[in-house]
Amino acid sequence: MASLGELERSVMDQLWSTAEAATANELRDRLAQSVVQSKDLAVTTVLTVLSRLEKKGLVERERGTRPHRYRAISTREDHTARLMHEALGTAPDREAVLARFIGSVSEAEAATLRKLLARG
């Protein structure tokens, strides 16, 4: 059985691969076809994963229909860009949240470093 984190990733991969909304049942079937470890996946597990993803702000539920249909909120690239922006952000308390290998670099510094790299 795959871990919850891996399942979240697989479910998002499915939702991102098609732009359309899908029910938990449809997602279960698609996962069973594509992901080896999820042959005997229960629909309730998929629903658990979906509600976790909803809390994280990655999927939204279409309220009107029964059963509920879920769709991805914005693309994987958007989320990655936002996450990286957060990681590279220059807010003063950023460094306390996560430790970056390199902080922000000025253009002048980058030019000096390019020379250094070309030399060595």
Partner: protein, 328 residues
Amino acid sequence: MLVASYLLALLAILLAWPVPVALSRAHWTSRSPFAAMVLWQSIALAGGLSMIGAMLVYGLQPLGDNLLQAIASAASLVVENRSSEHLQFWHLFALCAAALLGTHLVFTLGLTYARITGQRRRHRELLEVLSLPSGAIERTLVINHPAPVAYCLPGGSRSVTVLSDGLVEALSPGELAAVVEHERAHLTQRHHLLLWAFEAWRQALPWLPTSRLSREAVSSLVEMLADDVARRTAPDDVLVRAIALVAVGSAASGPGAAEPTLGSPRAPETPRTPGTPDEGEASLAARLSRLLTPQPQLTPAQMTAVLAASGLMLAVPTALLLAPGIVT
């Protein structure tokens, strides 16, 4: 007690302004970041202690010959709801200020902690979905992004190092190992706790030179400490190359430049204002220069002197608080 309160106030002023200014200009700090880190911690602790202590001792001085006795009689005044003809307006004012400052510091520490851990949790939640575990390096996640990015996200047993595709492509295996070693050092040496405490200190008293200078110094020193750990396994020139490649790459794909390659114009980006003087810049130059032209470490005697100074800095305000009335 009155003399002690004046001495504490003098010490508080020294530790709030001239001492941190002098230390932030000192050059030896890059030769022994550990000693410098210890010194900054005692400056902050002793500074806070003497600030609060000066007001406390001044306010309590009419009530007794030493601090413990004065606190005891102050407590009995409060408990028995008596008034005291000894306590004048300025004494009460100092006591209130001491209580306010103490509470303010503790609250800011707690609030900063809550905000930092909340942001980390949210970041980790998204990472779970957006990144893949690196096959080759344990406790490391790889995220699909062209800019060369490496950072670590502290969180006890769930601490992880995050690398971007762009970084893995741009660096040789040796350089990559140096970067990972550097990030691991941040986690094993618990640098996030230092950064948290000094960030809270800065946010609590942003107008004080010491809190801003110490915050800048600490974030630069933790990088040097992590570099020193990476140097144990990687040659200096490999680490320098890794730093240079990542710095050049992140400047090239920095504000504005990263967006077109990503094809995500909808991301709510607030571009950084280019050219703003940033503490990261000074720190990067200092980091590179100590790797390029290595300076000898502090001698054992110098090291002892720095550590003794740190100890003394804490001992003096403690003695001033407790000694009057007991010694004599």
